[in-house]
Point group: C2
Chain length 287, copies 2
């Protein structure tokens, strides 16, 4: 997805939110805002929006001591979600269609997203679960994903956010961890999952985890490591979570299933979906 | 009021809204957004926010044929408000405190403001009137304004928006047009009042009208004409309408009464008022 004009006010909102989270110093806030202004003045609008997200968070790190402003939120939501995990498993096991329920819950967990300058509360997570269990979801898209996973020997599952990854764990347990490799971000960006976050919720013991080698809040393939790209090309199915992965992989050179909750009006318009919807989009070069 | 960091995302929202209203051409939208980015990268944050508003609308005019994108909205809301005028006069005349009611209605009319990327509907105007007639308003501030006007031989009334100016007319009729001079913008900017708009609602026949010589959406004194500055300095009372006048005159070198409806969180915080409130602020160098 290319950058839309409506992304531009949002870049500044994101930059200000990230700068304020990283530092209480107005000099830092100003430095970040000015750097983003200069970058926007010359940016290539054909770039995917997470390219500017990457720049914003690099500027925040450059203007501070580089420590991760989202570390506390990542631990908090991993803990919160681990507390919910027994209940999630029970809901899935007792439902008439465990696969559909596990997919709905994985999408519900995608509410735990600090992108776009958003913040998240425990109440938001609870409401997102309740909503996801009963809201409309496109039956055809869900069936295509089910058939693809049923027929796959290898699945590359691209995680999005800390906390959300526990919801992903419940889905991975259901579809069988032996077939699954988990792709994560190469280094901290927003509250996105890294190798350490996956380990914190026990996923490293369950599946192979590959960092993608990039610090973008999405999957910008031409920045990813050769190891990650081999896994990306070779997997029978790629299932990618979250808007950042939608924005960076909707035009990928191979088929990618994108599972997320719609939280941004530009993504909503681009995907032809409603705000708040949970969606399974089949993107990339569809085979 | 200086520019706050939170104004910066809003500048881009305003620029995009104005560019889209002026043209359907994405090339124009992009040109305006890039120009604003360059300007923000180097701007002086001690400037008042309407300084950037002025630049945004100059860039929009430069990127188009320069015709006024707000002309239709100005006529529409002048007409709408003229239709309401007999009812406004009747409400004022029949109220136990006609001055307070006229001030409340003048503030209600300030909802007709296309600044900040906002749009306005007839329903918004109706709701603003109902709200203003019953909401809290600081009694002390209102009494200070009443006493100042009661004791004034000359009043400079600085208008804000087309449509709103009909509400101002009802207040000016009550306080006595003979004492009043009306200050308006020097040339079209947003839906702000110019000499032509004041004439359209019959105010030119009632009071002297002075353009301020500037195309800023507020009153930036060091850009105003000598004639306007003489009237500004000499008036016993200056009563200025709207957020743009608050932003540019709250630190003026003389006392200014600022009457407006709070529509922006930055102004709300700066003025210590709640969103949606109608307020009379005594700003500038208070004598």
């Amino acid at each position: 997805m290319r950058t839309h004009f409506d992304c531009i006010p949002c870049f500044f909102k994101q930059a200000l939110a990230a700068a304020r989270l990283a530092s209480g110093d107005p000099v830092v806030h100003e430095r970040v805002l000015r750097a983003v202004s200069s970058a926007v003045a010359g940016m290539d609008l054909r770039d995917v929006p997470p390219k500017m997200g990457q720049l914003i968070h690099r500027e925040v790190r450059a203007a501070t001591d580089g420590s991760d402003p989202y570390a506390a939120a990542k631990h908090e939501f991993n803990d919160l979600a681990l507390g919910l995990l027994p209940g999630l498993r029970e809901t899935i096991a007792s439902s008439p269609d465990p696969f559909e329920t596990a997919v709905r819950l994985a999408a519900a967990g995608n509410i735990i997203d600090f992108g776009g300058g958003r913040t998240v509360t425990a109440g938001d997570v609870e409401r997102s679960i309740d909503y996801a269990l009963t809201c409309d979801i496109d039956a055809g898209s869900l069936e295509r994903l089910r058939r693809a996973i049923d027929g796959a020997a290898t699945i590359l599952y691209l995680a999005d956010n800390a906390g959300e990854i526990v919801f992903d764990r419940a889905l991975i347990e259901l579809i069988g961890p032996a077939r699954v490799t988990l792709g994560v971000r190469g280094s901290p960006i927003l509250n996105d999952v890294t190798v350490d976050d996956a380990a914190e919720v026990g996923l490293s013991e369950l599946v192979d985890v590959i960092p993608n080698g990039s610090d973008a809040p999405g999957t910008i393939l031409n920045e990813c490591s050769p190891e990650f790209l081999r896994a990306f090309d070779a997997a029978d199915v790629v299932l990618a979570k979250g808007q950042g992965n939608y924005e960076t992989l909707s035009d990928a050179p191979r088929e990618v299933f994108l599972l997320f909750k719609v939280k941004c009006p530009v993504v909503a318009e681009d995907a032809g979906e409603a705000m708040d919807a949970i969606v399974v989009v089949r993107g990339g070069a569809v085979g």
